[in-house]
Subunit: 343 residues, 4 copies
């Protein structure tokens, strides 16, 4: 094993929640009807530790968005959390807004930002024409800059030139993200006032889109739509340890033997861990590597043969359709002061 | 009739050829395998007369683009004429190019510019990354600014800000146009180095996109995709006169009576005109109105009841598919110095 | 004029209302919030006269379907009329239904049937799996047979073979139609229990899809999406006569001279007709042709030169999107006994 | 470990090559410009062993289909292998063909069959109309039956009813498949004259589509577009063993230490295996499980927590576009005797 370089492996993730430990003091986590809401505020010290930007991060976890009731519960929560984020970022009711949809519509896994942006309400052209808007509406524009592979232009150059020309008071940018764990794939929405940072998104070379650059608040909304094969394998090995632990601890319980293994959800119980010896017995040297070491090893296995695929689930088309409706509606309801009967 | 205001009616057309008389001295017109090529150069005097901009206009007419042989003939001619236009506009081989696709992809009749732009080759991102391009390729970018109804932003503002930022040496802009006569609908391509002028395009409020504004040459490529109901009616009344004239002149020719009327192409013969009395007999007062007066009358009939529809043919989806392939390929072959075996 | 054959011209229309005179005794016509509903029942005698099938025809006219309030009013009326049609056709609550979407999705003007069918609720697979359905739901299937140009198979052969295999108790078939007058284009929905008849639809060669063939009730829902150039010209000439009549009758009214002509809606007033002499004066021989003769003449003018285009409005993409939502929702609400809060 | 049921695990794969050992005597395997072609003929005995149908299986492996040269090499090979398959299946030049595209166009991973079918040439309607076809063309139809979730009808019922009505002499069916190993994902085309068998395809409940059912030859063309998470994890553990073995065997070679591990392709060398003791050392109990046992274990870990995802790569949209062009062109060139300059 000595031949393998175990220097720091950078997990590919755009979610802050992937980086903090569950008992991290900064996280305020609560649940509502099976939906979990996490609020994290990173000060300079903590931001540096996590290699993230200073600011607020809200993360909403949910299960099946194709269920109607659940859809409306998530919509309600997202709208409320968006409003809080706008308020915390000192965005006033009369501030004009530019909504930016990042990504490539032709690639399902990278299309979420563009499709969402196509569904938001824009109003600036009406304001420019008539000099006023219906009560409750904010001056809003929408920009879909495309991707460098089809425009030949650095995306941030398109954005900065249009922002400088039209001078919105704040920006909302929507993008597809990479997930650092299997269980968040298409089941998480992250909102942050830190904008989009270098290397974010599922495309490789995103440049920073943030208040630093544009001098106006930038709220970023992201959903993880892809995960690396390395992550799937590492997660599975960790789940495997939990199942081994569960099996050992429940060996003698007759009742448990009657439950088919595919009905046991061992995941929720944090007590299922293995001793060093147990890990060695079940998984050899592999069993006692740190998470970081395991990921480096798996990446070292998959990369040279070209199989560290970035993957997504087969259902992505249907879920993206629902998610883009949901996020667009939440944006409309949080930036404009309009009919909120469902909220 | 006196009640109807017969002041100058502005035919809705973006084609210069709709405005000049067939014997106009400025037009250089030739044919090749059933395809007609017209070159017009407007100096200040003539431009003023026609209310058009000073510059070169090349118009290519063709019939069925869905026929493969015809497709390649039109492609060949369009490529050659594009190259001439670039040369006449003093565009050098090392000039960088921005291709702009105007219009709304969601509206078939307005989608031609956007769909074409999505099919062109872009290279600037490769040049920026590697510092060079394969031999024959020009630095090229592509911009699809969208329409005001979905962006909330004046389209020319998006274009000018990105042009100012990326500083291309010349611009090619592609747009769907309105036709001033039924017979040009989806059967004409106009190239001009005067750019896009106010009121052009099938959207209502296009602003100028031209060398005046951007200080670099702007080549505009347009195809008429729509026509006003007024134009259809006026054209039909004129065809009717020709048919009446034909009928009178061929009354006694036995041979002609044997030809079913739906096989007579009376249109090509310019000798078929009616005398003032004949016009009165067949069409009453209507028969002796000028073209301009007839159009005003028809518009006056259709507008108050909301039926001066802007229409397009049922086949537009299939023809647009072919035309966008053809124009994109002609652009690629004329701006880059690449494989031209078909040319 | 004698040279032109004035034998019976067959107006291209699929709407029964285009064929009957406004004072026709069989029509029951009423209005609700600007929407007109016409019910016609043709017995054998009247059906023969109009060259149509024996049965019930309901026609709903409306204006701007993109207006939200109007959308819901039309939806409400369509749902109620659909329910009446099902009841009149003796379709019981436990009858199974097959919904068939005709046309070609790739051609906007011909896509209405296919797009609508993709939006209806199907249930048979759930019934087959579980042996029951949620209360209120009917056993429903959906078939999109495609068009002969892309399947190579006669569409009615695909339908009949699947109908014979799956044996639905009744059929709903949705199709785009040709309009016999400009004012009905995309502003009319026709429902009939006579099914689809030869020559219907905007494709040329539709075969009969009716109870005669399938031995179960066939409800056809159609929307006119195209109109022939001939129709536009003929309609305009008729409107022209009305405007001439209006102008004559209001010559001396000072008040009227103050109203700009584009604000006069002369169309609604049926009193505006011209005498034979007035017609001759304004429109010559053309002015005193019957409608039928005029149409033959116009067709004779346009056909040999290839300009009798079948056209549609520039806005078809947006209106089709709305109409397919509306019709699909009305079908779901009328065949299933589900949430009808909007009804 | 005893608690985990290690009874036979059924790998989810539709590829025969996933089931045979590399040294299997029935396989005829050769390579051409980096493309591998495998021909397998299963007699009754071998078919039973593998739980597959009696017949011929041709499998083509390739790498980057987005490379133009490679695209044409694969096209050439696929066309030639298709022609061999037609010949081996005794399909004569005058046999009529029905092409069936299975799957759901709305789900990228399941859309390959439908999109391919939309690109094939159909001719039967021309033959029916004119009584003949251009030289070289076969009577061909195309059917896209949809999926049960949107039709409510068992797909095989739609197919059988249309087949019985139109009576093609043979059938070509195209479908997206599940892969039994990561390295075949979107890089393999399987052709077989055994048709589609129960449980095939990426949808769950496909019924048999074969000569047994339809009494005419059925050629199935499939491409694996998805893979289970279980497969990714199991493949990775096997690759890991190879890398461990490689590392041990090359420990002392100085030259090797200079090669970064991400440039070593250890996969191609079949000599890299671990002893029982080495496996235990590196991977514990897990290291000495059989492939089958490992898969059961992984599935047992992932299934109860809902993470045995069926996944696909992020690039699927672009590769599917290329593959559907390639397969449609190969079908056109192999069933019709038309221009084959590229072959």
């Amino acid at each position: 094993m000595g031949e393998i370089d175990l220097s720091k492996y950078q997990t590919r993730t755009d979610l802050v929640v992937d980086l903090i430990n569950d008992d991290f003091k900064l996280e305020n986590r609560r649940s509502y009807k099976g939906i979990t809401i996490s609020n994290i505020s990173l000060d300079e010290e903590n931001a540096k530790k996590l290699n993230k930007s200073v600011g607020d991060y809200t993360t909403i976890y949910f299960d099946d968005i194709t269920d109607n009731t659940n859809y409306y519960n998530v919509l309600r929560i997202l709208t409320l959390e968006m409003r809080k984020m706008l308020k915390n970022s000192n965005i006033l009711d009369n501030y004009s807004c530019m909504i930016i949809g990042l990504g490539n519509e032709k690639s399902t896994a990278d299309s979420l930002g563009v499709i969402t942006a196509k569904k938001v309400i824009v109003t600036k052209h009406i304001y420019d024409l008539t000099g006023s808007l219906e009560k409750g509406y904010r001056i809003t524009t929408c920009l879909i800059p495309g991707v460098m592979g089809t425009t030949g232009i650095e995306t941030s150059d398109i954005i900065s030139s249009v922002v400088n020309k039209t001078k919105p008071d704040f920006i909302i940018v929507i993008d597809a993200l990479a997930s650092g764990s299997v269980d968040r794939l298409l089941k998480t929405i992250q909102i942050t006032n830190t904008g989009i940072n270098p290397g974010s998104g599922i495309g490789n070379n995103r440049k920073e889109i943030s208040e630093n650059i544009f001098k106006v608040p930038v709220i970023a909304i992201g959903v993880p739509t892809v995960v690396e094969a390395t992550t799937i394998v590492n997660d599975t090995l960790n789940y495997m340890k939990k199942l081994f632990s569960y099996s050992i601890k429940n060996k003698s319980k007759t009742i448990d033997k009657l439950i088919p293994s595919n009905h046991i959800n061992y995941l929720k119980n944090n007590n299922y861990t293995l001793s060093k010896e147990e890990s060695s017995y079940f998984l050899g040297v592999l069993g006692n590597l740190t998470d970081n070491e395991k990921k480096i090893l798996i990446k070292d296995v998959l990369t040279p043969i070209g199989y560290n695929l970035v993957v997504t689930t087969k259902e992505i088309d249907f879920i993206t359709l629902k998610l883009t409706n949901l996020i667009a509606e939440a944006i409309n309801k949080s930036i404009h002061n309009i009919s909120t009967k469902n909220i």
